[in-house]
Structure formats: C-alpha cells, structure tokens
Amino acid sequence: MILLLFFILSFLFCGLILLFRNKAVTRILVISYAFIHVALTIYGYININKTELAYFTFTSTGVLLLAVLSVLVIPVIYHGFIYASRDEIKRYNIYHAALVALITFMSGAYLANGMTVLWIFVEATTLAVAALIYHDRTDTALEATWKYVFICSVGISLAYLGILFLGFIYGRGDAASLSFSSLENILKEANPMYLKIAFVFVVIGFSTKMGLFPMHTVTIDAHSVAPPPISALISTTLMNVGFLAIFRVYTLFSSSSIFSFMNSVLILSGVLSLLMAAGYMLKAKHLKRMLAYSSLENMGLVAIALGVGGDGWYAAFFLIVLHSFAKSSLFFQMGQLSRVLHTFRLDETGRYMQLYPAGAMVLLTGMVCVLAIPPSGLFISEVMIFKGMVMNDQWLVLVIAVILLCFVVYAMSTRVMHIIFSEPRNNPVQSSQESVRSIETLSQFLLLGTVIILCFYQPHFLTDLINQSISVLLK
C-alpha cells in the first residue's frame, strides 16, 4: 500500500503544483516530494522482494537504481530551483510538475515486475521528458523535443513488438503482461528464433532510453537544449531505465539457448557505441553534446560488460551507479558554466579557473572521475570489465575498447583543459561571477567525493544489492 500512497501523492503534488500559482508553494511541494521519494527507497530496501499492487516488486535491481535516483533527486531539485528562478510562474510550475512526474515514472519503471507495466512507464517518461526539454521554448528546443518524442515513440513501439513476441512463444495474448518470474518457466522450451527476434527488438527499442547504439542520437540532441538539471537526469537515471529494461530481458532469457547470441548483440552494440562516442567526441564543439557522447561511451562499456559476463556483470552495475553520480555532477556544473561564460560553445569558452575556481575544480575532478582515472571508482569497474574480457578470451574486443577509450580520454581531457586554462578562441568571455556562488558546487563535490570514496571502500548494502541483482545470471 505504501507504493500506492507514493503514486497518489506524486500525482496529487503534480496537480497542486499546476493549480497553485505560487513559487513558494511549488518549492515546498517539490521538497516534500523529494523526502517522500527517499522514504520510499528506504521502505523498498527494508522490504526487498516484496510485491505491491500486483505489478510492482522491490527487487534488488529496482531498489539499487531507485536509491541512485533518490540520491540525485535533491541536487536535481536544488539546481532546478536556480535554473528556473527567473521563469514566469506558469513555466516554473510546468517544469516542476513535469519533473515530479518524470521521477515518479522512472521509479515505477524500476519497480515494475512485468514487461508491459515496465513498457508503459518507460513510454510515460517520454511525455514528461518532452515537457522538460521544451522548457526554454526556443526553435532548437522544439526541434530537440520533436526528435526525442518521435524517435523514442518509434523505438518504444519496436520494444513493444519485442514484448509481444513473448506472447507468440506462450500462445496467449496475456503473455506480455505476465510477470518476469512466470515467464521464466515457459522460455526454456521456446523456439530460439522467437527469442532472438524479441531480444533484438527490445535492445533496439530500449536503446532510445539507454542512449546506446543504434538509437543513441535521440539523447544527444536532447542534451544540447535541455536544462542542465534535466540533462543530468536524462544522462543518468533515465539511461538506467533503459539499462534495466534490457537487463530484465537479458536475465529472463539467460537460461535459454540464445544466451551467447545475446552476449554477441550486446558486445557489438557496445563496441559500436564506443566507436560513435570516440569519433564524435573528437569533433565535438558543444560542451553538453560532448558530455552526452561521454554517456554513450559509458553505456557502451556497460553493454560490453554485460555481454562479456563474469566480473563484467558486477562491473556493469558498479559502472551504472558511479556514472550516475559523476555525470550528473558535470551536468549540474554546466548550468553554472553557462551563467558564468554565457555559452556552451567550446571556441567561446576559456579561463574558467580564473572566472569561477570552484566550478573549474568540479570540471577537473569530474573529468578525472568520468574518464575512470584513479582515484575514480569507475577505474575499478573498468578494470573489472577488462578482467572479464581477458578471462573470457575476448582479446579483440579488449584491444578495440582500449584504443577507442584512448581517443575518448584525449578528446575530453583536451577540451576540459581548454575551458579551464586557455584563452577563448573566439569572442571574449563575459564575466558575471556575482550571480554564481561557490556554495552551489557543494552537491557536485559531494557526488564526486562519493565516486572517489567508492574506489577504496564499497559499503555492504551496495555490494549486496549488486550481487543479488546478478545472482540470477550466476546460477
């Protein structure tokens, strides 16, 4: 019943935010919502594997990703308050109502215990994100929103076809609405061809959300115009929704005869994602697009890790968690950078250390963390992925991945160093430091600090949740 209460309160808060034309009321409601979300995560952790409302279960995977979302909700709301502070009340309220709706839909997707419910929540996130991407009401925002909604809708329709293929295996129309546990029993005797088609449809469809090749372009365009706190969500927790959907089907089919086929598809998709990311990062001229390509690179690594297996499975989850913290802090920083430098264009940026030292330190630390340079926790996950490749004799994948990662490191580090230390190549930057306080970087340092601490110490609850999530695969 707690989950029902959460959904009711979420939609009630959305309604109230739209109803009351008062920024103070909106702030109180949104902050209250953040605490409710944290409470739901704690409740989920205490009640692991409990099913509520028939269609939702607090699985380890769901609770882990829900916890990541809870950690990010507070900074997202804080930076959202700053970003939208100058907006007129109507736009301010639409932003916050859509934000609450998006967080609720993502939470629903994490906890869904059947493919159709999961799919419905994933589809619903598209609507909420569309309202948020279109927040600035510019021509580019309109184009990005259009592309996002259109490509996501086509992709998610394809994913739904994959889910319906499960019905063909079972011979009943309601197979797509059965829970994951009920489906496990019927898959062992299924025609492998159906499973392969279903898996390919699901990977292509949900890659719109995970930001993985071949549907990666949709999130890249969305990033360049979305408000920075929303980019932080799209690039982390929303990608985690896509990852979860693919992971659910992957674990579901893991006991079938197409296991090696799925691994090959994931490795291929991951390597192509890395290739795209490396290529486009080398020519990136827009900072947020560069960060979006960095997310593509990380999701590519996650897909490879899943496909490689062994230590890779643990590494995939660890990478997902750490990437969420590191990348979101960089996107939060983009909001401050645009207020200091008034641009996201690389050629027009420079001298950031001089203009806003706290922000420059966030960029520097964030770059170290995202590029998996020690002491970043991502270093541990990448080492585990490489170890998995070696253990499974994936030497070719290892060589290709290492070469492509070198390009990514070069592209990102040279660009970040340029922003921090160099003179701008084009128009001189306009300083407006008075509006950006150093204290605004606190949440970013906390998140990056967590990424660094997790390199040396991984708490039991985290390792337990990850181990429970991958336990199905280890059987």
Binding site: I120, L142, V149, L164, G173, A176
Partner: protein, 204 residues
C-alpha cells in the same frame, strides 16, 4: 471474413507506396483504423464488455476519426498537398514495398507456431516494414508522422496475432502509444511547420 479484411489491409499498405497526395495518405490511415476495428471484433471472441469498449474507442474514435481529422487539419494549414520524397521515385518505393511483403511472408512462415496466426503475423510484419520505409524514404515531418501511425497499427495487429483474447494491460499500452502519437501530431507537429523538412539546427 477476417482474411478479406486482412487482404484489404495489405492493399492499403501497398497503396501507401504508390500514392502521391497527402490526402490519400490520410484517407488510408482512416481506412486502416476501420479495418482494424473489424478485424479485432471478428478475431477477439473471448472479450469482456470493458475491453470491447476500449478497442472500439481505440480503433473507431482514435484511429478512424480523430487522427485523420488532426492530420487533415495540419495539411490544410500547411497548404501542402503532395508528398515530397527523398530522392526515391514512387516506382522504387513500390518495388521495396512488394519486396518487404515477400520478406514478411517468408519470415512469418519460418516462424510457424501452433499459437500464432501466420497471416496476421505476415501482415503485421509488412505493416511494420511499410511504416519504417515511409520514415526512411520521406523527408516531410508529416510523412514521418504517418509512418509512425502505421507502426502503431503494426503493434495492434501483432497483439491480435496471438490468441483470441486481448488483456486490458496491453490495451492500455497501445492506447498510451496512440496518446503519444496524438500529442506529437497536435502539439509539436504543428509548431514545427510540418510541411517543411527543417530539422537541421541541431548538429555537431
């Protein structure tokens, strides 16, 4: 009766490839909605009243009336009557369309399953390929929208291909998809000047 309706549905898909005017596209989308309603009513024998109302609303109200009306409104506002193709004459599109029909038939016959109606599967696959073909080969935003709506019809046909019942949950899923389609059509589509192909501001 169902085979006749299915064949008629397939003919509408081939017609999409050869049509040149947007108004034809809109009429075909409306006709497909009507055919889907007929197919669903004949196919779904074990269905309760709530589900029946849901399906009739979905096919007749949304697919046959509301969406074609919205499309017509967009076309009349934009003043564009002809489909603009991306360097692909209608003849070649027709060839591709027939080829995709063949591929669909071969694929669905290779996936023979005691639970699945092969004709449904063939036409559902053909519908999916036609929708994707329209999106890839056309430049106008409105053509992309029509491609998306055809894919939605493919999803509906796929859900009918298995068994003779259709659970509420799948209905909700399909309706949500249509809702997104209508939102895309009504809001963003109109603001983007759907008769243009100016979607090139965002690039590296």
């Amino acid at each position: 009766m169902i085979p006749y309706l299915i064949v008629l549905f397939a003919i509408t898909l081939v017609y999409f490839a050869s049509a040149e005017r947007l108004i034809i596209y809109i009429r075909l989308i409306g006709l497909q909605g009507l055919l889907l309603c007929g197919i669903a009513l004949f196919e779904l024998r074990e269905i309760n009243t709530a589900n029946l109302i849901f399906i009739v609303a979905e096919t007749l109200l949304f697919k046959t009336i509301l969406i074609p009306y919205l499309l017509k409104w967009i076309v009349s506002r934009s003043g564009v009557t002809k489909v603009h193709r991306q360097a692909m004459p209608g003849f070649y599109l027709l060839i591709f369309s027939i080829a995709s029909l063949l591929v669909s038939v071969i694929l669905s016959n290779s996936l023979v399953n005691q639970f699945v109606n092969t004709i449904f599967m063939s036409i559902a696959l053909f519908t999916l390929f036609t929708g994707l073909l329209l999106i890839v080969t056309h430049r106008l935003i409105i053509s992309h929208l029509i491609g998306f709506l055809i894919i939605e019809n493919a999803v509906f046909l796929f859900s009918l291909a298995v068994g003779n019942s259709m659970p509420m949950l799948i209905n909700i899923g399909i309706l949500l998809d249509i809702f997104v389609g209508v939102l895309v059509l009504g809001f963003f589509g109109l603001r983007l000047r759907p008769h243009t192909n100016e979607l090139t501001r965002l690039k590296d």
